[in-house]
Symmetry: C2
Subunit: 269 residues, 2 copies
């Protein structure tokens, strides 16, 4: 069986403290992970605190990639989870879970390509917009009066649960025949498709204002959760194109007051 | 139901780095623990690194007690677990377990009095002798090529599993009637009894040399696991006294060549 832990990426978004970079690298090494990506970091991997905290994880730290935004960090990923101590907001209940619940799901997705856990900056965590770019959300149950974990501690607990899931899957599948990998569209392709879809859904008046954002989030979760294939992403692009054409026709025909549903029905058949 | 998490003590033995004290206090606060004991610490809770890392856990840090040895840290405890990345050595398989396996056991014991998880110093962990003072051993499954976790990360994962066990027990027992606490002899009494027993077993020639240590460890685990009552501890003291008396009789009678088994049998009835 393929070793899936190296396919599980840790993404730190705008980390502030070098010590957290080092501690993250070390604990990744402890649990068998190696793929670290830093999004627009304030702290440097060359800082003495980072190197001191990394100990045997120096190799992970030195191999860390720095990218400008979350999109670049997740570009080739088939599945991603955002971490947050807040559970209110943009997410539907089906896509939120505890670390113990979500790590087996993340690991299963790694069969199909790289996956990622995304951690926000130390002071305030990820924005709703950033959370919305991921397929789901993971929380670590903690005290309600002070639930905010240190960044590297949160990484440690996710890596720990991931390794538990991995150990279990290794024991469960030992001796089972390997299954062929299913193709899943990478994040960058899915994301382009979602943007296309958002544009189209806005143009046709489905998405608007604040409610539009949460509707689009819900759609992203719904589609993302199914791990769409490249072919399915193409199909959704086709849908978006069609909606945009329709919206354009409506605009053109508005003076004529033609019913837009007519145009939509024709193009579907 | 009584809240058991405040009865779960974190014991750090000779911690070297102040940052680890702070990070430990914070993560204890995150998961609802509050009882921190430092055994002969090299690092100070007043160090700037400790206070900076503690954030909202400053209250836990400031309430930490400093004691000279593990015995003092565990004096009132009814159950304790030593942490180690090594699983070879003095312990029998029944008393070793992963954090996920052992934390429910620790929490259940907290019904009867204070319990503790004991963490060794950063460079090398607990000595075999120190591990032997505890009732069992807990490990965190990790990479075989670099399994040694940062001290505060190990604390985080144990506290996390402890809170999981606590959440589960709160959900399981909600609505159930409270059960009266069973009396368990505190560590200091158990330990005195074990020392008495060791002396007696050595005197009667049962324990000797290297093998004697591991035999005594096995006995400690066996008896300790049953959470002996004060009455049972008295009974074991009685046994030790009797064995010593017997050994003494043997020594006295050696010139006469009396069979020692005779004396032992009589005193038992």
């Amino acid at each position: 069986m393929m070793d899936l832990l190296p396919r599980c990426r840790i993404v730190l978004v705008r980390p502030h403290y070098a010590g957290n970079l080092g501690a993250t690298a070390r604990v990744m090494r402890n649990f068998g992970l190696s793929d670290l990506v830093l999004v627009a970091p304030y702290a440097s991997v060359n800082d003495l605190d980072a190197r001191r905290m990394a100990t045997h994880g120096l190799g992970v730290l030195d191999a860390a990639r720095v990218v400008p935004d979350i999109g670049a960090a997740l570009a080739d990923c088939v599945f991603s989870l955002a971490t947050s101590s807040m559970t209110a907001g943009v997410f539907r209940s089906g896509t939120i879970g505890t670390a113990a619940e979500k790590m087996p799901e993340l690991l299963a997705s790694a069969e199909m390509g790289p996956v990622a856990i995304v951690f926000g900056p130390e002071p305030h965590g990820l924005s709703n917009e950033e959370i919305g770019l991921c397929h789901g959300m993971v929380t670590i149950p903690s005290d309600s009066t002070f639930g905010s974990l240190n960044l590297a501690q949160a990484v440690a607990i996710c890596c720990y649960e991931l390794r538990k899931a991995w150990s279990k899957s290794v024991n469960d599948t030992r001796g089972k025949p390997e299954v062929p990998e299913r193709a899943v569209a990478p994040f960058v392709d899915q994301n382009r498709m979602f943007e296309h879809l958002r544009e189209a859904l806005t143009e046709v008046g489905y998405l608007f204002g604040e409610k539009g954002d949460s509707l689009m989030h819900a759609l992203r979760q719904l589609i993302g959760r199914s791990l769409p294939t490249p072919q399915e992403v193409k199909i959704l692009h086709g849908l978006a194109r069609q909606l945009l054409w329709t919206a354009n026709q409506i605009k053109k025909n508005e003076p004529d007051d033609k019913p837009p549903v007519d145009r939509l029905d024709k193009s579907d058949h």
